[in-house]
């Protein structure tokens, strides 16, 4: 019993520690999304043959990352500055608009992993649909910095 409590506390601590730096956490998520996109893009461009397993792996990663996004935890007030964040202040000016973009990404990622592309044509459509989410959110809610 004591061991169990210890384990739970340790886990809880680890959880808190992992969330202590929301800027680093959200950046890690975005990097991981980029990697997943990087697994799909060479197929879409015809540089690599279509591989259903790789497609599923990439979509799974994207979906897991998407569902992990909790706006309140990853974008708490005050994290528009600090670190090398490129989050736009518009996130906090228009929280409901930002949340709507995130909800759409979650829904699109879940739909994609539930019905992964079975061939190249389907992948092109799926990749395009998911990719719209990236630019669609970065258009308003990210600031390009030097």
């Amino acid at each position: 019993m004591r061991k169990l409590i210890f384990a739970i506390s340790a886990l809880a601590l680890a959880g808190t520690a992992a969330l202590a730096d929301p800027i680093a956490d959200r950046q890690a998520l975005m990097k991981s999304n980029g990697k997943a996109a990087g697994m799909l893009a060479p197929m879409v461009k015809g540089e690599k043959p279509f591989d259903a397993e790789v497609v599923l792996a990439a979509l799974t990663t994207l979906n897991q990352n998407a569902q992990k996004i909790d706006v309140a935890v990853l974008f708490p007030a005050g994290t528009d500055k600090g670190g090398d964040t490129t989050a736009s202040p518009k996130i906090w000016e228009d929280m409901s608009g930002f949340q709507a973009k995130m909800d759409k990404f979650k829904a699109d990622a879940a739909a994609a992993v539930a019905a992964p592309a079975k061939d190249l044509e389907a992948l092109k459509a799926q990749f395009g649909m998911l990719g719209q989410n990236c630019g669609g959110c970065h258009e308003t809610f990210r600031v390009k910095k030097g």
Binding site: G34, A37, K45, K81, D84, G135, G146
Partner: protein, 318 residues
């Protein structure tokens, strides 16, 4: 007549001459009507290509509109700049509120000379300093295409500018300094053939330099830092360096650039953001040949280090 009086009279006379010269120099100058008349009616299919290359809809569609509404050029986007706030006007073919009654000649003068049908200067927030490099036949084709778009009712409010920028006549002097229909850079002989086609798209209709090149305090582009990136004229942040200089895109291949313009993903799978999102959506509608030409030109322009200051580390919140 005393000496002081003589000087005063001379000063006033000179001032008068100076004012007259400035007034003369700042007069809006129109295109040669005969030259435009020779071009005749434009072609809507060719015009659509110019429409996407030019990105008219990025500023002139209603802000945040999507899908087919991007073709309703009702205006309304606000550009908040150091000179004041510019409001994109209605350029749909509506007879009262848009440009429905304009002739092709009116349209060409707006695009290539920055002059309105009633003979006033436009502010260069409308990127005619780039469009002035366009071929008149492309302008005529664009005119024909824009005639096919839905007319939209409603005018936009005027720009909100402080003194002295609210004096339109002053733009005439600005044009003397900065308006040129000549190519910006020399594309070397070693550059591939399509780099010249790309030069036309980038320096002309695409007006890439309007955001990607730093400006002087007068608002004129620093052409010796062409495409070197700049502090964003409106909003926060920067517009990236798209030359091959330090901080730029020297490590992108031509195919990387073309692919970015088509899909919105950088070679390391970051995504397009900010105002470039709307631009990239337009670029995705061009032909692969046009995107490849743009890429070839960007690889051929003189490399420059970043045209914006290095990022300062932000103060910690603690």
């Amino acid at each position: 007549m005393g000496l002081i009086r003589k000087i005063a009279v001379a000063t006033i006379a000179l001032g008068g001459v100076g004012a007259a010269v400035l007034w003369f120099l700042s007069a809006p100058s129109r295109l040669d009507t005969a030259a435009m008349a020779a071009i005749g009616a434009g072609d809507t299919t060719r015009g659509e290509r110019i429409f996407w290359a030019g990105g008219c809809t990025s500023c002139h569609a209603r802000p945040k509109s999507e899908g087919p509404a991007r073709l309703e050029l009702a205006g309304g986007l606000e550009l908040k700049t150091p000179f004041g706030t510019f409001v994109a006007p209605n350029i749909s073919p509506h007879n009262e509120d848009g440009i429905g009654t304009w002739t092709v000649d009116d349209f060409a003068n707006a695009m290539m000379r920055g002059v309105s049908p009633d003979g006033r200067h436009y502010y260069p927030a409308f990127p005619y300093p780039s469009y002035t490099r366009m071929k008149p036949e492309d302008v005529a084709d664009l005119y024909a295409f824009m005639k096919t778009l839905p007319p939209v009712e409603g005018r936009q409010p005027g720009h909100r500018l402080g003194f002295p920028f609210n004096i339109r006549r002053g733009i005439g002097l600005w044009k003397l300094l900065y308006l040129s229909d000549q190519p910006v850079v020399a594309v070397g002989d070693t550059a591939p053939e399509n780099a010249r086609a790309g030069q036309y798209l980038v320096e002309g209709p695409g007006h890439c330099g309007e955001c990607h090149t730093p400006r002087q305090f007068t608002g004129g582009l620093k052409k010796n830092q062409w495409l070197a990136g700049a502090v964003a004229a409106e909003g926060d942040g920067i517009v990236p360096n798209i030359t091959s200089g330090e901080g730029g895109i020297g490590d992108w291949s031509e195919s990387d650039i073309a692919s970015y313009l088509e899909t919105g993903f950088t070679p390391d799978f970051d995504s397009v953001g900010g105002a470039m999102v709307a631009v990239q959506r337009n670029m995705a509608r061009l032909s692969p040949e046009d995107r490849a030409a743009i890429a070839a030109y960007l690889k051929a322009v003189p490399p420059h280090p970043n045209g914006y200051p290095a990022r300062r580390p932000e103060a910690s919140k603690n």
